[in-house]
Subunit: 322 residues, 2 copies
């Protein structure tokens, strides 16, 4: 009996986290809400945790992974679209000038995504994503994108799951872009993935029912859209939320506004050696989609949100580090 207790205590649930306040704040919260008889106890069905994906669970630099996917799709589809050679944003993509391709504003980005993400069935798109993610490599590390996930966050997901939490992804990224690999990589099944989406339409093809992906935005799961998506998909307010940018602010606010014990965490990208350092809160440029602003940092301090320094709080960032 005593032996078992020693073993259990010796098993650190978060071995890639340094024993600093961020780690302690997580453990304190989890113990508080799971201890029977505690005034902060939360029943298992209500233990909902929501996670942003890009920059929170995996690397979003030098660009969000889904952008690389879109670029590769443009290259694959280019032979069928000779007009793309001179038509932006496709021409820039084909020249390898990704900065120019994304510099054309929201409308150009939307056009790029619709041209590469719509027009096929949902089953076909799933297969396209599966095939791509199985081989596509990060431009700096040469690792598979699915290896560019944060080891400390994988441990956190497992720790929460072991404590009766249901983990959801709530991402501005495409819901159907994440589902094909999220279960294997994060242990998060498709029905626990919330994301942005395009419209789909039911119809018959060769006598078989199919869902066709239409080039029309259905839902933008970012900023104020995140609480909307959470309400739509989950129907319960999370008791814990994890993000890394201004796109996650409303999700954390919405989580905190519930009654009872709550937990909010932001990942700060301040490790230029092992990953990337970016964001105005560090006096660094406001890169695409990854803005950790000074205002967000101030709000975290004021509202008691945990801020994780990747440089200081994480012993390892990626599993492939030795």
């Amino acid at each position: 009996m005593a032996f078992t207790t020693t073993i259990a205590r010796a098993q650190d649930p978060l071995p890639s986290w340094n024993d600093f306040p961020a780690k302690q704040s997580i453990i304190t919260f989890v113990e508080k809400v799971t201890k029977p008889g505690s005034p902060h106890f939360v029943p298992v069905p209500e233990r909902i945790a929501t996670f942003d994906n890009d920059g929170t669970l995996w690397c979003e630099q030098p660009l969000p992974v889904q952008a690389f996917f879109a670029f590769d799709r443009v290259k694959t589809l280019a032979p069928k679209h000779p007009e793309w050679k001179t038509q932006e944003p496709f021409a820039s993509v084909l020249k390898g000038d990704y900065k120019a391709a994304l510099g054309g504003g929201d409308r150009a980005i939307l056009e790029l995504f619709m041209a590469t993400h719509a027009g096929m069935t949902t089953a076909e798109f799933e297969q396209i994503v599966r095939d791509w993610i199985a081989t596509a490599k990060h431009p700096k590390t040469g690792k598979l994108y699915t290896e560019m996930v944060y080891q400390p966050m994988l441990e956190l997901l497992a720790y929460l799951r072991a404590n009766g939490f249901k983990n959801f992804i709530v991402s501005g990224g495409g819901i159907e872009f994440m589902r094909p690999w999220a279960e294997k990589v994060y242990g998060i099944p498709p029905e626990q993935v919330v994301g942005s989406s395009i419209k789909t339409e039911f119809g018959m093809r060769d006598g078989k029912p199919v869902l066709t992906r239409l080039p029309e935005l259905n839902f933008n799961d970012d900023k104020g859209g995140k609480p909307v998506g959470i309400n739509q998909h989950i129907g319960r307010r999370p008791i814990a939320a994890f993000g890394n940018s201004t796109g996650d602010k409303e999700m954390l606010e919405y989580t905190q506004a519930g009654s009872g014990a709550r937990f909010e965490l932001l990942v700060l990208h301040d490790d230029a050696v092992r990953e990337y350092a970016y964001g105005p809160a560090l006096g660094l440029p406001n890169v695409t989609l990854g803005a950790f602003t000074q205002a967000l940092y101030d709000q975290a301090q004021k509202d008691g949100w945990t801020v994780v320094s990747m440089k200081n709080d994480w012993k390892r960032i990626f599993a492939f580090e030795k």
Copy 2:
């Protein structure tokens, strides 16, 4: 050991079902997909079952329950809307002429729903539904609506759950109208409810983040919308689907089109004594929302869908029957 086996066999998982082919078809399917080593074995995470609600899990006559909710809301809100006394469809509702109120077509029905389902926060709406469902009674039986659920279907839900299935509601009814009571009544948590919805908007009220319900349709979860809603919320194709009307046809087709063992079932309302008898397949009138057409019946025969006769297959329909 032998004793245990006898006990297990003696425990009929579907005691309110007569031992007719419909019951046998359910048990055969469940045993087939859950038996390790069986060529039809389906891993637990893929055991997704989807259920229509109105007319499949609970009574939808003389009108869908949500219509009675809307009528009661009109009466409650009427003092603030003196113009409703002469304005349709509200005037008919206030006179108690529900048939006329619903007879004004889709636009009148939409107006009725927006006036009664929008304009408050999601938390306020949840409380309104909770309060109403706690006391509102069925006009014929005088029972609570939550007692008007089909006992054989409750047993089926429990049987599937005990065999590793995840049960989802996929209903044309309002998602936020079902969630407040579905967990208690059906054992189906909010995140496993898919339904029609209106748009919501994130904002701050008195410094607190809230979601406000807007008078604008977001999603119509009926007919071809059901596979769309399933893909959006669940992201996996069900292996079993249960319905009772033409609104469920596409959901059953989509379910059946997957590979491996599949199961589809339609409930036929043919018991005028214990419940209601309706639908063209019985040569009876095509009542609102509850159409079991002859074409649907023929398709069920052709495609091997199980058709449940409430009159013959169910020993008991409601738990309150003796």
